[in-house]
Symmetry: D3
C-alpha cells in the first residue's frame, strides 16, 4: 500500500472554510493518505445557488487539472451541491467524489431513510435535484434549511452551529428517519459531536468522500473513460479558459 494524495477542493474562495474542510478530511484519512486542500484563486466566497455553482465549477475544473498534473490519486469536491461533478470526472484520471453524493450513499448504508439539514432555503432545490440524479429521492424523509447563509458558519459566533444542532434534534424527533446528512461543507466538523449527542448517525460528506476516494483507489477503480465520462474532446478553449486546454 503506497502513499497517496487526495485533493480536496473547496469550490469557494473562503480560506476559513477550506481549513474546516481540510480538518474534517484529515481526521478520517488513512495514515497512507495525504490530504491536499485547495480552493480556486478566483470565484465566489460561498455557493448558494445555481449561478454561484456555475462560477465555482470553473474553479473546480482548474483545480482538477492542477491536481491531475501533480499526480494526485483522486479528488473530492467539497461543496454540498457537488458543483461540476460530471465535468470534473471527464477531466480527471482518478476518481472524483462529491460530498453530497458521498454523504447520501453512506446514509443509505446505515439507515432506511435520512434527513438533510442545510443552510439557505434556496439551496434545497439543488439537494432535491441531486437526490433524484443519484437515485435517493425515496431514501430522503425530509429536507431542512436553517435559513442562514453559508458564511454564517464561519463568523465565529457559533449561532449557525447551534441552529444546525437544533434542526438535527427536531429532525430526529419528527422525520421518522434514522440518520441525518449535514448539507454544507462548512458543517463538516460538527458531525462527530452531533452523532454522539443525538445517538444516531449524523453524516458529514467531506469525510465520507475522502473514504470513498480511498476505497476506489484501493479497488483499482477510476473514472471510466469508456463512454460519456471520457476526457473532453480536444478543441481550443479561448480567452480566460485557455489554461483549461
Amino acid at each position: 500500500m503506497q502513499k497517496q494524495i487526495i485533493q480536496v477542493i473547496n469550490p469557494n474562495t473562503s480560506w476559513g472554510m477550506t481549513e474546516t474542510i481540510a480538518t474534517a478530511a484529515r481526521a478520517v484519512a488513512s495514515p497512507m493518505t495525504e490530504i491536499v486542500a485547495v480552493s480556486p484563486s478566483q470565484g465566489l466566497p460561498s455557493i448558494e445557488g445555481h449561478f454561484d455553482e456555475a462560477i465555482a465549477t470553473v474553479g473546480v475544473l482548474e483545480q482538477i487539472k492542477l491536481g491531475r498534473e501533480q499526480g494526485v490519486s483522486g479528488h473530492v469536491i467539497a461543496c454540498f451541491g457537488d458543483p461540476g461533478l460530471l465535468a470534473a470526472r471527464e477531466l480527471a484520471n482518478g476518481p472524483v467524489v462529491g460530498i453530497a453524493e458521498a454523504a447520501m450513499h453512506m446514509a443509505t448504508l446505515v439507515a432506511t431513510r435520512f434527513s438533510i439539514v442545510t443552510t439557505l432555503p434556496r439551496t434545497l432545490v439543488i439537494a432535491r435535484h441531486l437526490l433524484r440524479q443519484y437515485g435517493f429521492e425515496h431514501h430522503c424523509a425530509a429536507l431542512h434549511a436553517i435559513d442562514l447563509p453559508v458564511l454564517a458558519l464561519e463568523d465565529g459566533s457559533g449561532m449557525a452551529q447551534e441552529k444546525v444542532r437544533a434542526r438535527c434534534i427536531q429532525a430526529k424527533r419528527e422525520d421518522g428517519s434514522g440518520a441525518i446528512v449535514l448539507g454544507c461543507g462548512g458543517m463538516a466538523t460538527l458531525a462527530q459531536e452531533l452523532t454522539h449527542e443525538l445517538g444516531l448517525p449524523v453524516i458529514d460528506g467531506v469525510g465520507a468522500a475522502v473514504k470513498m476516494v480511498e476505497s476506489l483507489v484501493a479497488l483499482g477503480l477510476s473514472t471510466s473513460k469508456h463512454g460519456d465520462l471520457d476526457y473532453p474532446r480536444r478543441k481550443a478553449a479561448t480567452g480566460v479558459f485557455q489554461h483549461l486546454n
Copy 2:
C-alpha cells in the same frame, strides 16, 4: 403589442452556428420580435459533454447579463443541453428558455411519445438527464446519435445532415413514436423540411424556444423571483468573474 427583443444565445464560439440559429429563430419569430443572436467572446467552438457545458455556461451568463442590461424581453439558450439554464434564470429579469426543454415540451403537445436524434453518443447522457429533470422520461421512446461531432453540421458537406435525415427515417419506422426532436442547435434549419418529407412533426428547439419566450412575455410571465430562482445573492466575484457581479 410592443416591439420586443429576444436574445438568442449560442453558447459556443462558432459564428457559423450562431447564424444557423439566428436564421431558424427569425423564421418563426413574430413581426413584433427582434432576434438578437449572440455568442460568447471566449469559450469553446462546440459543446459535446459536461466539461464543455461548464465552460459554455460562463459565456451564457455573460450574455444574459449583457442582454439584461440592454433590456431584452427574454433569452433563449440555444444548445441542446440547455447549459446554465437555472443559473441564467437566477440572473435574468425576463424569461429564459432552453432549446432542449422547448423542443421536448412542444413534442408532448403533438405526440404521445417522441424520439431524439442528436450528434455524438457521449451527449446522450445529457439528454437523458434533461428528460428526467423536465419530467419527460416517459414521453421519450428512443434516443439516437448520428455519431458525428457537432461541427460536422457546419462543414458544408451535408453529410451530417444526411445522417440526421437517415436516422429520423429509421426512428419513424422503428420507435413507435409520433414526433422527432432534433438534438442540436446546429440542426435547427432542418426541421421544416424533414417535417414535410417524413410526414410527422420534426421539432427544432430554437424556433420552439423563441415562441415560448414570446408566449411568456405576452402572458406577462417572467422568471419567478420568489424562492430559488431569485437573483444571485450579492457577493464579490473575484478575478475573471468580476464582470459578472
Copy 3:
C-alpha cells in the same frame, strides 16, 4: 403571417364561463389571431368529477369536429381537467392544447416548483392524474382546493375569487414554490391581478393554451398523424353519436 382562428372550447354549458374564458383568451392573443369561443349545446353546467368529464368530452369532440370543418388553425380545451384531450387530438387536423397542460408547462419554465389552487377537493384526483401523465408530479409542490363548486366563481358575489386569492397567498407563504397555477377556467381573469399583487407568477391556463396553439401553428407543428393520434378509424357511430362520424 396570416390571420388565423383559434377555437376555444368551454366544455361546459355555462355561457357566463364561456365569456370569462373568451375574455382571457382575447387579452393575450396575437393581433393576427381571432378567438372563437364556443361551448356544447348540450351537457352539464360545470365539470367537477370524472362523470362530468365523460359527458363534457362528447361536447368537446362535437366542437372539435365543427371547428375542423370551419378550418380553424387550432383548438383549446378550456377546462382544467383537459377532458377529452387525446380523443380531440385524434379528431383534429390542427394542434389541440388543454389549459391544465398549458399552465403546468408554463409554470415549469418560470419556477422550479409550482402550487395549484382549484375548486372542489374531489377534483384534486384529476389534477394529480394529469401531473403524472404530463410528467410534472415532481414539479408540483402542493395542491389546494378552495372547497367551493365551479359555479361559485360565476355567482357575482366575488366570494370564490376572494377564497382563491387567500389560498394563493397561503400557498406563497407555505409551499416553497415559485409559481401558482389557477386550476379552473373560471379563474382565468384573476391571473394578471394576482401576479401583480403577490409578486410571483400566477398562471391561467386559458391564456397559456392560446399562446401555445399560436406557437405550434407558427412552427408548422400539428398533431402527429403518425401513430396513436391518427384520425379515428372509420366506422359507423350509431344513434346520438352519428353526427360525429
Copy 4:
C-alpha cells in the same frame, strides 16, 4: 350467501363480442352469480383509440345507471382500455372493475413480470397509460400488438386468434416474463386453452374481473363514497344526456 347479479358491460355495439364476453364470464362465475351481459344501444362497433373510448364511455355510463336501477351487485367494464372506469365508479353503488385492471392485478399475483398481447399498435398507448395509472409499469416486461383490428377476432376465420397464439409463444420465448395478459375482451375465450398449451398463465380480464367483483361483494366492499368517487354532484344534464340525470 345470496344470489347476486353481476352486470358485464361490453362497451361496443358488436353483439357477437358481447356473447364472447358473456361466455367467458359465465365460465368462471360462482353458481350464486347471475351474469347479465349488456352493450350500449348506440355507439361504435369496436374501440381502438381515445375517440372510440370517449364515445363508448357514454354507453358504459348508461348501462351502469340501468344496472344500478335494476339492483345489480356489481359491474364489469369489458373492454381492455377500461373506458369510463372512474366515471362509472362515481355513478355506481356497487363495485366496478375493468378487465384491464383485473387481468393486470391477477398477473402480478402469479408472476413477477407479465407481457401484454393486444390488437392494433395504436391501442398500446392506452395500455401504457393504464399500467402507469394502476402502478404496474414495472411489472410489465413487454407489450405486443398483432396489428389486426378488434373485429378481426369476430370474423370467423380464426386468423386473428392464430396471430394471438403466435405472439404469445414469441412473448414466452423472448420477454423473460412469467405470464401473458390478453389485451382485448374479444380474446377472452382463448385464455384457458393458451394457458394449457403454453404452460404459463395466459390471463383473460373478463373472467378475472368477474371474480374480483364477486370477491368485493363477498367482502362487503363497495366503491367508496367518501371523497372523489362520491356520486356525481347533482346538476341538470341537458340534451341527449338528460337520461343520465
Copy 5:
C-alpha cells in the same frame, strides 16, 4: 365446482392470532372452500421487523411444503409484511397471496387513494417497501402506526382495537383517501364493523387474500413455473433445513 382447501398461514406462533385470522378467513370464504389455518411449530410470537420476518419466513415455507403435500388448492400468508411471499411462490404448486398485497389491491379497486393503519412505527418501512414493490406507492395517501406492539391486539383489553378505531377516524378526516387498509393480521375481525361505523371501506387483508386465492383457483391460474418463480433448483439443504428439501 369442487370443494377446495385454502391453507391460511399465520407466520407467527401465537395461536390466538391464528384463531382471529381463521375467523376472518371463514367469514368470507365460499361454501365450497375449507379454510385450514396453521402456524409454524417454532419461531416467534409476533412479527415486527425484518429480523422477525426472516425467521417467520422459514416457518411459512415449512407450512407451504406441508400444504402442498396435503394437496391444498392455494395458500394465504397472513402477516401484513407478506414475509417469504416470493420464496413461497417458488415452493408452491398453487397460488400464494399475501394479506398486504391482497388488501392493497382491493383498496385500489374501491378508492383512488387509501391510508394504512398498522401497529409499531418500525414496521412502516416494511409497508413502504411493499407499496413500491407492488406498484401502489402513488395510491397510498398516508401510513399510520398506533404505536402498540402486535400482541397488544391479543391482550383482551380492547385498548389496541380502540386505538385502531381512533386512527381510522383520524385518517378519514385528514388524509383525503377513500379507503383504509388494516395493517396487521390481528386486526382482521375489525374491518367489517369499522366499515359500517366510518362509512368507507376499511379493508382486512385476510379476507381479501382468501377471495383472491379462490378467484385464481376458479380462473385456473396458478403461480407461473415459467421463469423466476419456478420450483427451487434441486440441491441438498443441510441441518435444520433438511426437511425443506
Copy 6:
C-alpha cells in the same frame, strides 16, 4: 487507527466459494483490517432464487450474531442478492454492507450507467428488485445472465469464467454503459483482470463492500439504532431459532 476485524459472510455452504471471497476481500483490505471469512454450518450450497435466499438468511443471521459476540467491527454479506441485509442490520452493532449494494454504489461513482453480468436468468428478478430498492434503476443500462448455475464458477473448468468474460465484452460493446458489475460472489477474483483487459471498471462487490465497511468504521458510523433498524424486539424465539435469541 486500531486493528479491526471485518466478518465476511458467505451465505452458502460451499467452502470453495468462501475461499474465493476471502481472497478477494483480503486483496483490498487495509493492513489494519483482519478479514474473517465464514459461512453457515447448515443451509444450501448455492443461492439462486428467493427460496434459497430465505434459507441463507437464517445462516447469515447466525453468523452476524456470532460476529457481534466476537466483537467484529463490521460485516459483509457476500452474496449478490444481499440476503437478509435489513434483518442483519437490526441484529448488528456495527455496519453491515451487502456486495450487491456495494458494487452498485461504486459503479455510480465511476460511470453514468453500468451493466450487470450474473449467473442464472432466474436471479435477474432479485437484481432488479435491489436496483429499485437502492435507487439505481436509472443507473443500470442492462442486465445479463450467463445461464450457468453459481457452482459452475467452482467446477475448475474455467468455462463459467470464460462466459462471464464474453458477456462483459458484449456488454461493453452494446450497452452504452461505462462500467460492469459482476453479479455473483463467486466472480470476485475476476474483476481486476477484466478491468485491465476491457479498459473499463469491472466491479466486484466483495472488495467494494470491505472498503465500505472500513470507511464506515473510520467515519464512526454504524447502523442507526434510532428507528426501524433498532435491535429486534426482545421475544422468545422457539425451536431451532432459540440460538438467535
